[in-house]
């Protein structure tokens, strides 16, 4: 066995152990310790963590700074919201959801109609964000538009969608969609069903992390990092960097769409304020704090930041904004590797104390794209 193989075998046991611990924490410990309210809050944080895994892949591994994950999150969330509204309306034999009746709309707009069917809605949640990301990614990466240009375009997309949704009264406008009664037939005011939602979110997060881990460790994952660090060289080796980037961007969008779809029933409301430019960029801070290039960093960072935000802003709403701003400045500016960067740093220190070992590659900071 070569050193690399040994390391791989070793780390897959570690990974299995890690998964087991995470599963125990999420499925046994959390439900036992937390109140129903806190558990529901944690479920919401897990949704952000799912988005963060995708951002870790696209930004940390692929070097694509996506400022518009709120778009894909929003598409998933709004489709789910529309389906839940229609399902509620169908139960009471109304032609249109309640908020439309109040607004004086008595015919269902055509773009709502497909989402009355659960399979169509679920399929759309899985396919639509990925498809939009594929189209934008194709348009952008194939033309070798990158770096700052891509960041600005993804941001503009988030702004455009938020403005579009705010202006459309038939999709709730500025206030968004809320007041869902049931989730695929299960009443949402029943605590047992809300627990179920938490378990669904937890299971989804574990699956998403496992998928991301497989991707990162595969040949594809190595190519992605190679594109981030030396795009031209990868092109000279005969690969098309555009395709590699598109895949990572599409996967990130796919994760964000699923997260959005879970967010809607868990939180009970989705509005343009949740998906615009600022929340889209705010998704990044958890990823940056946890460590953008790692697998678990984004997850822990996202949950940590969301938890801190809830705790802080309950008591000092204005202080949180200062704190968030300071986090962006300090973490991105001065500790770009995030908290995960302290691990290798400590290990390096220990290595230095021990006799030198030559069979391990040096742990270096990846260059920024």
């Amino acid at each position: 066995m070569t050193t690399i193989q040994r390391l791989r075998a070793n780390s897959s046991w570690k990974a299995l152990g890690g998964f087991a611990i995470a599963a125990i924490v999420l499925f046994v410990l959390a439900p036992a310790v937390l109140t129903d309210f806190r558990l529901s809050l944690l479920a919401k944080f897990l949704c952000f963590a799912i988005v963060a895994v995708g951002i870790g892949l696209a930004w940390g591994r692929g070097g694509m700074l996506t400022l518009g994950q709120g778009v894909f999150f929003g598409i998933g969330a709004y489709i789910m919201a529309m389906h839940l509204q229609l399902a509620d309306a169908a139960k009471t034999h109304e032609a249109v959801p309640e908020f439309m009746t109040i607004a004086g709309v008595d015919r269902l707009p055509s773009y709502w109609q497909p989402f009355a069917s659960a399979p169509v809605a679920l399929l759309a949640i899985l396919v639509l964000p990925a498809a939009i990301a594929a189209v934008l990614g194709f348009g952008v990466f194939k033309r070798r538009v990158k770096g700052a240009y891509f960041a600005i375009l993804s941001q503009a997309l988030a702004a455009a969608l938020a403005i579009l949704l705010t202006g459309q009264q038939t999709i709730g406008g500025f206030t968004g969609l809320s007041d869902f009664h049931a989730f695929f037939g299960f009443r949402l005011d029943d605590p047992v069903n809300r627990r179920m939602l938490f378990f669904i979110a937890a299971a989804t997060l574990l699956i998403v992390v496992a998928v991301a881990r497989q991707l990162m460790r595969s040949r594809y994952g190595e190519l992605l990092v190679a594109v981030r660090d030396q795009e031209e060289r990868v092109r000279f080796l005969g690969y098309d960097p555009a395709n590699i980037k598109i895949v990572a961007y599409v996967v990130a969008a796919f994760f964000a769409g699923i997260a959005g779809a879970l967010f809607t029933p868990i939180v009970g409301i989705i509005s343009p304020a949740d998906i615009g430019v600022v929340p889209s960029i705010a998704f990044l801070i958890g990823v940056a704090i946890g460590g953008r290039t790692t697998l678990l960093g984004p997850v822990l960072g996202a949950v940590g930041v969301a938890w801190a935000q809830t705790t802080f802003s309950e008591h000092f709403p204005s202080a949180w904004t200062y704190f968030q701003g300071a986090l962006f400045i300090v973490v991105v500016g001065f500790i770009p590797a995030g908290l995960a960067g302290f691990g290798p740093m400590a290990r390096q220190l220990l290595e230095r104390l021990r006799p030198a070992r030559t069979d391990l590659p040096a742990i270096t900071e990846p260059a920024e794209a």
Partner: protein, 294 residues
């Protein structure tokens, strides 16, 4: 015909606003390669400067003119402070400057909210800007004309400063070849700070102009920032000529699409057109070799 002229003026006036907002960015983003997300907050600083100056000087006509100069100074100082405090450490990481300056923007926004309160403030336009002029059968508000004149003046002043002054020569030299400029005795540090001063000052001037057409709130800068970035991207980096054309093109496109559909759909269509445009010219309308971006 009247409708056409009316939409034309709306487009030109929107274009002037975009131009004012984007002009500073074409310096800091286009020439320096720094993605300054706090640019929107510098615009906002210009708005609040106007509000404060108007509280101090009750003659609104004088207050507006004074605000233009004070605003430029306030924005410029904020920008210079940002450059010296943070950005100077990060010239090799343009994408990270984006997030760091976003953090600065959040802090500035909240600071303004805490000082002035969240509700929007109104600035009274001076009496010589009330009413409108009739041009080709359409009534055009005088404030709009003032903004157009201001935008044109700002472009001419900036272009003249870059072309003729020693500072402008230094800025161009540093942008084109930093190390050669340094060996020729140009202080690149001082030039970087000055470039930021001018770019951020122009953002605040845009803010002063914005107070004439709407009320001022802590988030006002954000609503113009995305458009301003798009203008610079379409125009081509570091090109004032490109920025001017792109700003008016976007303004006109927006106003004509908006007339046939709605304001929100227009925003989305403009975005789609921008993406399609970049297919044809990924580097923008005009390009020049500069320090490459990412």
């Amino acid at each position: 015909m009247d409708v056409l002229v009316g939409q034309l003026f709306t487009g030109l006036s929107l274009g002037s606003i975009l131009l004012l907002a984007a002009l500073g960015l074409s310096l800091t983003f286009g020439q320096m390669g720094v993605i300054n997300m706090a640019h929107g907050e510098f615009i906002m600083a210009g708005c609040y400067t106007t509000y404060v100056v108007e509280q101090l000087i009750s003659a609104t006509g004088v207050a507006l003119i004074v605000s233009l100069f004070v605003g430029f100074l306030v924005g410029g100082l904020l920008g210079a402070a940002l450059e010296m405090g943070l950005i100077r450490w990060m010239y090799d990481r343009p994408l990270d400057t984006l997030l760091v300056t976003f953090g600065v923007g959040l802090v500035l926004q909240q600071a303004v909210r805490d000082i002035f309160g969240a509700p929007a403030k109104n600035v009274v336009a001076p009496h010589w800007l009330t009413g409108g002029l009739t041009i080709a059968g359409t009534v055009v508000p005088k404030t709009r004309i003032f903004i157009m004149v201001l935008a044109v003046a700002a472009v001419i002043a900036l272009a003249a400063a870059l072309e003729t002054t020693p500072l402008g020569r230094r800025i161009r030299a540093v942008v084109q070849n930093r190390s050669l400029a340094e060996t020729s005795g140009v202080s690149s540090r001082l030039t970087d700070v000055s470039t930021f001063f001018i770019g951020s000052g122009l953002a605040a001037v845009a803010g002063v102009a914005l107070t004439l057409i709407g009320s001022t709130s802590p988030t006002i800068g954000q609503s113009y920032l995305v458009d301003a970035f798009l203008v610079v991207v379409i125009g081509g980096l570091g090109q004032i000529k490109g920025t001017v054309i792109a700003a008016f093109a976007m303004g006109l496109l927006n106003s004509f699409v908006e007339y046939s559909t709605t304001a929100t759909v227009a925003k989305v269509i403009v975005f789609i057109v921008v993406v399609i445009f970049l297919q044809a010219r990924p580097q923008g309308l005009f390009t020049v070799r500069t320090r490459s971006l990412a």
